[in-house]
Symmetry: C2
Subunit: 252 residues, 2 copies
């Protein structure tokens, strides 16, 4: 079992998509985004500050090619496009803004108070085959995820790596796509393939479990958008993300 | 003065960036995104459902090239990358998910109640040289924008086209970037260049003025992220957007 940093290594434009970081046998979308961010990071601008991806075709575990094109290389930020392909097929394309989050300044103002969440030790860890999911979620062998349904369309909980690794700006891109779709509380099917995911990483997380809130905004018969917000153990908001996903109503 | 649809025409990969749809002489970022969406739209998939752009270098009014690359052409959605260049310089690159919003189904559930906004006829139209803006906002000759500061970091108001055109899924991409930065209520300077903008268009707006809410999330000394939500005259949420922008504190 490869740790997250090792499973997202890209060298000379080649990656090995890890069978462990999967849902129903398919690599998780946030895992793929983190891997693409690692390929785009530079010594001067090591941190993804924005990441926006369109998901075109789900890859299988195994070899994949990751191609980075620099779009702008500025003093305080650079921007890049990254394409992940497998067997000549483009699977994900993403745009990144990269920078150094140690230099972007401390919070001056926020509207984003940490939500109340049931204490972590009062919640159970989600198993790899949660009831109703319909698929095996192999990545849940690697992370300790504990969730509670706060209200319809509003899931909250905790996330940490099993091997004790702290989260960093790259693995936060996994965290924003690691929770179940908020629609599982609304009678939707488990199958909500992501069309687009955008994440803003706003700070370097302090060590300790992340506090995660995932909530649905608008759900139609075929599409939904949801918001994921993440706070670190010092109550600082460190990532805010939105995604547009396809959606199917559960069959009665 | 060109209406919005005419000002966002792209033919054979060539556009004329209109001097009217500018802020401080520079084309508005939402205007550019709408123009790029128009270039990517197809008869089968005429509507942008997601649009994510990185802003690399601000173009000047005048000729620009718009290059569309199809990434996936599915039954219910297609995805494309669009690049806007001027004088060999890449200015904006964007990823789109396109579809037909007449077929995506009616709202089943939403957390997004329309916010209370001061009635439109009790508010004044924003002038093209608003106090404190520091720049002339030529696009305000073309749209009737009325705003009120509801709370620090929370701006609400109304938007309509002067020529009576209804909004559509493409011009909603302008609407989500048409309001002043929410930080102008927090002591920030007027200058908040967008690094990344992502918009989800969730419905075809009914005719009538749009209700707009723009609010800041986290503001640090150099970056901010904000959310823009738009409801139509039937109280349906039709667009939800986020942006990451550079930020400077006002000098005392």
């Amino acid at each position: 079992m490869a740790g997250f940093a090792q499973a997202t290594t890209v060298s000379d434009g080649e990656a090995q998509l890890d069978p462990q970081w999967t849902v129903g046998g398919r690599p998780n979308g946030g895992y793929l985004l983190a891997l693409m961010a690692r390929a785009a990071a530079t010594p001067t601008h090591p941190h993804p500050m924005s990441a926006s991806a369109v998901y075109l075709s789900p890859p299988d575990p195994g070899p994949a090619a990751v191609e980075v094109e620099s779009l702008r290389d500025g003093r305080s930020a650079s921007q890049a496009r990254v394409r992940l392909t497998q067997k000549e097929r483009t699977c994900v394309e993403a745009l990144f803004t990269l920078g150094d989050l140690t230099t972007t300044g401390t919070p001056r103002w926020t509207d984003t108070e940490p939500p109340s969440v049931t204490p972590r030790d009062e919640l159970s860890r989600t198993p790899v085959d949660p009831p109703g999911a319909g698929v095996r979620i192999d990545m849940l062998e690697m992370v300790d995820q504990r969730i509670t349904i706060e209200a319809p369309g509003d899931i909250r909980g905790w996330l940490s790596f099993d091997d004790g690794s702290p989260f960093d700006p790259i693995s936060l891109l996994y965290a924003v796509d690691s929770f179940p779709p908020a629609t599982f509380t609304l009678g939707g099917s488990g199958w909500t393939p992501t069309l687009e995911l955008t994440a803003y990483v706003r700070g370097i997380p302090a060590p300790g479990p992340l506090r995660v809130r995932q909530r649905a905004r608008l759900v139609t018969e075929t599409l939904l958008d949801q918001v994921c917000e993440i706070w670190d153990s010092t109550d600082r908001v460190v990532a805010q993300a939105t995604q547009l996903a396809a959606y199917r109503l559960a069959r009665p």
